[in-house]
Symmetry: none
Subunit: 195 residues, 4 copies
DNA sequence: AATGAATGAGGCTTCATTCAT
DNA sequence: AATGAATGAAGCCTCATTCAT
């Protein structure tokens, strides 16, 4: 909302975003009130609206920033690989690693993905991610002897594997994170019977 | 909230559940008020509380019933197959077919899965489903030369593929439903590079 | 908002409108909160929104109804006169008499007339009133030897006289109401120097 | 809130008053926030409270100054006429001309006139104006053969004509300003039938 | 079984004003 | 003189739920 922020202002804004993310993750977006956020920060209600024009706008910003961070991290990691199959693998591992480090965003992403109001933010980033993935997948598959099905679908399938295993393992049993990532990679590359 | 319902009562109750499901799917659970539901049905508010003790209870019941229906349909289909690999395939296809026919439940399941308050209902059914799946997967994989990773994880992976492709294709472009199912099956069985 | 009102409902609604009119007249529209209204009635806040979709909507309805009443009263009185000059006189007297009896609406009308948001309601009624008045004035003036200036303007002028004298005398010194009405009539008919 | 202002300070203050008048005219006093004013000026909030102790105080000052200007302009114009009837005419024309040039103040005056809080400022000026007018009117009427009704009332009537025609024509159709002024004068002097 | 009416806590947001720098 | 930051009361409105009939 405001733009000319002093250092103090920037800090305060970041503080709000982070606290909000924590609370959203704990209780859900709808169940978390603006009052919850500012009270937990010990500041007045007006502070919130000095930095954000609405609760929705805060979530949007939060999604934009974190999603962008995830995507960037992935990009960086993938760039360093040449082999297309390795690229897919690295993509999977980086995603899961990121969620391990930023567990609180996972449920928010899921929530947003299910909401008419918020999914466009993710959609934007995801579309880029998906078309990237399609390219890698195409390269990985090679001469197209699997051209029977759309590579775009494969990209979505990979994302689904990541989401599901992240939800089931990364969040609740971080100690299994590594094994879950291995499983995701193995499954995505070879499937059930593709020994 | 009554239990001994006459036929008329049962009909009314079903009517409420269905209308609620429609509205929840359109606007989301939190954004749909009890008033929305009864108004769209043209009845008074008392009706709602005659059949349900709370809005949450309605969702819980709705989830229980529909999730059970999905699981049952799957069970029936799988039973008719002997080959374990075919069983996995049939499981996938049945899920996606069911969501094609009951699109309105998909987002509700996703919502519930993300909610502390509601996910236990799905969890119950899903745990059964998962251990079933594990069995099938184990059988499919055969003598365990892929025993390196947990079959439970594989089961989650399969579910993730189903969810992701359902969301991306089944809901928005029903005409691609078949291809999406094919893609899901192929991907789950052979993965990206599993020729 | 609601339509199927029981007798009790209709009474309650009327009660709200009247209390609101009182408070608006005393403190002004903006300065009167919905809480003021319901508290002064000893009911819960929800009651207000059962009958009106918003505070603005209440004012709109209040304006519509009362303005319509004023116009109707005028119409009835005027109809009984044949002489056009007498019609103008009766119109003026009826207006002022009505405001004497419904003092609380005067400032509301003035407020609304000054508000982008609300003046359309009055505009509608006033336009009719004005074109009626134009007809009477035309008749009163006779063969048009005053056709030099627009009769529409004259109609507005008459309204201005009514408003101004109402504000200055009717509201604050009801005992002078009669004299004020006489003055308004004399002024409108003959002006300052029109012996 | 300072008093000993440098030239720069005086300019700044005038700037605020004028911008506020613009915004008040556009959106209304209550609907215009202090934030609106300072933002539209591109300055911080402190500036406002440096020059004014409150939003109300700003309006009061604005009313005082502009109303005084109107009255002064009228005075000057009237002084140059000897004939009492001409004086009334010139008073009317000057008012309307002034509002044509300062359209933004019209609705503010109306708003203030309707407000317990603000009307005293206008009252003060208006009372003077009115007693002046009474004198002129008395002179105009001459030997009192119209002494039947109070000349004070006539003064209010004239003001009402001015307000009404100003609102209806001067503000919305400036091109009709001249005709409206003519109409006001003719009506006030001769009334409807005082040919 | 069902209706219209009522409750009241709580949610989001605004805004005049003050403060530290 | 001026800025960005902060306060907190208050306003409008929603909504799950309950009640009287």
């Amino acid at each position: 909302m405001r733009q000319n922020l002093t250092q103090r202002g920037k800090d305060r804004k970041r503080q709000i975003v982070e606290r909000a993310a924590d609370l959203f993750a704990e209780q859900g977006y709808d169940a978390t009130s603006v009052a919850d956020i500012v009270e937990s920060l010990g500041v007045g209600k007006g502070v919130f609206y000095w930095y954000f024009s609405s609760k929705d706008e805060l979530l949007l910003e939060l999604l934009r920033v974190s999603h962008h961070d995830l995507r960037r991290r992935q990009q960086l990691a993938i760039e360093q690989e040449d082999d297309p199959v390795r690229r897919v693998e690295v993509g999977i591992r980086t995603s899961m690693q990121w969620f391990l480090e930023h567990r609180k965003y996972f449920s928010l992403f899921q929530f947003a993905a299910n909401s008419e109001r918020f999914n466009r933010v993710l959609r934007a980033g995801n579309d880029v991610a998906n078309s990237d993935a399609v390219r890698h997948v195409k390269d990985a598959i090679g001469d197209g002897y699997l051209a029977d099905y759309d590579t775009e679908m494969v990209a979505y399938a990979v994302m689904g594997v990541i989401d599901s295993l992240t939800r089931a393992y990364i969040l609740d049993r971080p100690e299994d994170a590594e094994r879950a990532a291995d499983a995701a990679v193995a499954f995505c590359l070879k499937g059930l019977v593709g020994a």
